[in-house]
């Protein structure tokens, strides 16, 4: 059975290559900072399970310090100029879309075709990780298709990957760091404290007030925790289940589904949901770190109100 370990091995090797190529990039004045940063990421992927908890903790601290002291620069691997790209675009035409479209095609192939395959009583792919395994496979196939079809140099996936990786910079590691922070929050019982505060201080005698507290609470709590999954158990145990469902007799399916989606409105508005809100501005080279959040808030707020109304109308 192919497990997540295979994806980690691949990621580790790719980041190790980024690290080595960074170290040799004389156009980047901070090249050793980049080499150290991507090197630590490679170490985490390749040997994270053997470093021990403290070792991993020190590794994370190292990443935070490199980023915090501004030791990360931007590598400048040799690439094609804008003029060359326009000429290549002319020459290759629609063929250029094929490698990019290979990604979704292979992901679908993995989920639909590879997932059910069983060899010797064992599934070929770890059933819990099919999507990520398919995505890694898709990344390999798409690189091969790109190299052959577009006749690009063999080193280009690593050099171009490093160029994009440096464009994203430290933001690339933020989603994982925040997931780890969520675990520390859970350990310290942060969610419980906030949940208790909400239920202890806000009167919920009226049905509308209770619906409002639950929906707005899911959104607000998600903004603070960066993740609707962290907010859901706390607020549903504190408000949704005892008050909306048991006291007012709300339909649990409506209450929970729309409660979760109210949390998603919060996800659109928080920098703590880094992979959705902070990585894209880095990828798109936007100078304002919060540009995507600002574009989402005017949709998120009316949608949150709409959720409140939908729950009030349909749950009872």
């Amino acid at each position: 059975m192919i497990k997540l370990g295979a994806v980690y091995l691949l990621a580790g090797l790719v980041f190790a290559a980024f690290s080595i190529l960074s170290a040799t990039d004389r156009n980047n004045p901070k090249r050793f900072g980049n080499a150290a940063f991507w090197g630590l990421v490679a170490l985490s992927f390749l040997a994270g399970d053997h470093l021990g908890d403290l070792g991993n903790g020190i590794l994370v601290l190292g990443l935070a310090l490199i980023a915090g002291f501004g030791w990360l620069g931007r590598g400048q691997p040799a690439t094609t100029s804008p003029e060359e790209r326009r000429a290549l675009a002319e020459r290759f035409g629609e063929k250029l879309f094929i490698p990019a479209l290979t990604l979704p095609v292979v992901v679908i192939f993995g989920v639909l075709v590879l997932k059910p395959i069983v060899i010797g009583g064992q599934p070929l792919l770890d059933p819990k990780q099919v999507t990520l395994l398919s995505l890694a496979l898709a990344a390999i196939v798409a690189v091969a298709v790109g190299l052959v079809l577009l006749r690009q140099p063999l080193i280009s996936p690593l050099q171009e990957g490093r160029r994009l990786m440096d464009t994203v910079g430290w933001a690339a590691l933020l989603p994982q760091m925040l997931a780890a922070l969520g675990a520390v929050f859970a350990l310290a019982g942060v969610g419980q404290v906030i949940g208790d505060l909400v239920t202890a201080w806000i009167p919920m005698d009226a049905r509308l007030a209770a619906v409002a507290v639950y929906c707005l609470g899911m959104a607000g709590f998600t903004v603070i925790m960066g993740n609707a999954f962290a907010a859901f158990p706390v607020l549903t145990a504190g408000v949704g289940l005892p008050i909306l469902i048991r006291q007012f007799g709300g339909d649990p399916a409506v209450v929970c589904a729309i409660g979760m989606l109210s949390g998603f409105c919060g996800t659109l508005m928080t920098p703590l949901a880094a992979n959705f809100n902070l990585v894209p501005p880095a990828l798109l080279e936007l100078p304002d770190r919060y540009a995507v959040i600002k574009a989402q808030i005017p949709t998120a707020l009316p949608l949150l109100i709409a959720n409140l109304v939908l729950m009030y109308v349909f749950a009872f």
Partner: protein, 222 residues
């Protein structure tokens, strides 16, 4: 109450725009200390959680192929391709993408598109190309606004589509939570009740994209 100190660190750190990795590390240390853990224990808990969440970063594996096709001119191609269809304006284009993302996510195909593999190489350049074809060279602000809208559209399409698919993580979490509290729940009911919000999300964001398009036109007409 002291346990909330870490939350305060996060809010202050992000508001003052300190490096977020440092802010997060500091918040973890403060939270652990407030909960009575020693520095080594906190570091261990943080390191363990970081290691267990490596899958979050594994999606970065799509960057090499994105880089290769960019090197060969994909962004430029995407831009000129959309410009050939003069009738396609940025509003309807992004509304179409929003619908596509919601429907495919509702079918469980959340990973077939995304910020790195579709927005940067294809969707954002096409959105820019659609505006350029009508209004000529874009100002830096307009270009950034178009890109931010493209990224926002992907997130909104994903969030308010995926919850309709019965085997997605959030639905499984809800079913698990309800079962643990003595409420039996068939996941299909949770997915059905995600549909009204999905429709409203499409209408609200679609309206905003249409207004965005109209604003760009007015600015160009001036």
């Amino acid at each position: 109450m002291w346990t909330l100190l870490g939350v305060a660190v996060v809010v202050a750190g992000f508001a003052l725009r300190f490096n977020p990795l440092l802010v997060v590390a500091a918040a973890a240390l403060v939270t652990g200390a407030a909960a009575g853990l020693g520095p080594v224990e906190v570091l261990e808990a943080f390191g363990k959680a970081f290691n267990e969440n490596r899958y979050v970063s594994a999606a970065l594996l799509v960057l090499p192929v994105v880089g290769v096709v960019e090197r060969a001119g994909l962004q430029e191609r995407a831009r000129t391709l959309i410009a050939r269809f003069r009738g396609v304006s940025v509003g309807p284009f992004l509304i179409g993408y929003l619908g596509f993302r919601q429907i495919t996510s509702a079918l469980g195909l959340t990973s077939i598109a995304g910020q790195a593999q579709s927005i940067r190489p294809i969707v954002a350049p096409m959105a820019e190309g659609a505006v350029e074809a009508r209004h000529g060279e874009l100002s830096a602000e307009t270009r950034q606004a178009v890109r931010a809208q493209a990224a926002a559209t992907d997130n909104i399409g994903l969030f308010f589509g995926e919850d309709i698919f019965i085997a997605i993580g959030s639905i499984l979490l809800m079913v698990g939570f309800l079962n643990a509290n003595g409420v039996a729940m068939d996941p299909i009911h949770l997915s059905i009740w995600a549909i009204p919000t999905a429709i409203v999300a499409f209408l609200i964001h679609g309206l905003r994209l249409w207004l965005f398009d109209r604003k760009l036109r007015r600015e160009a007409g001036r």
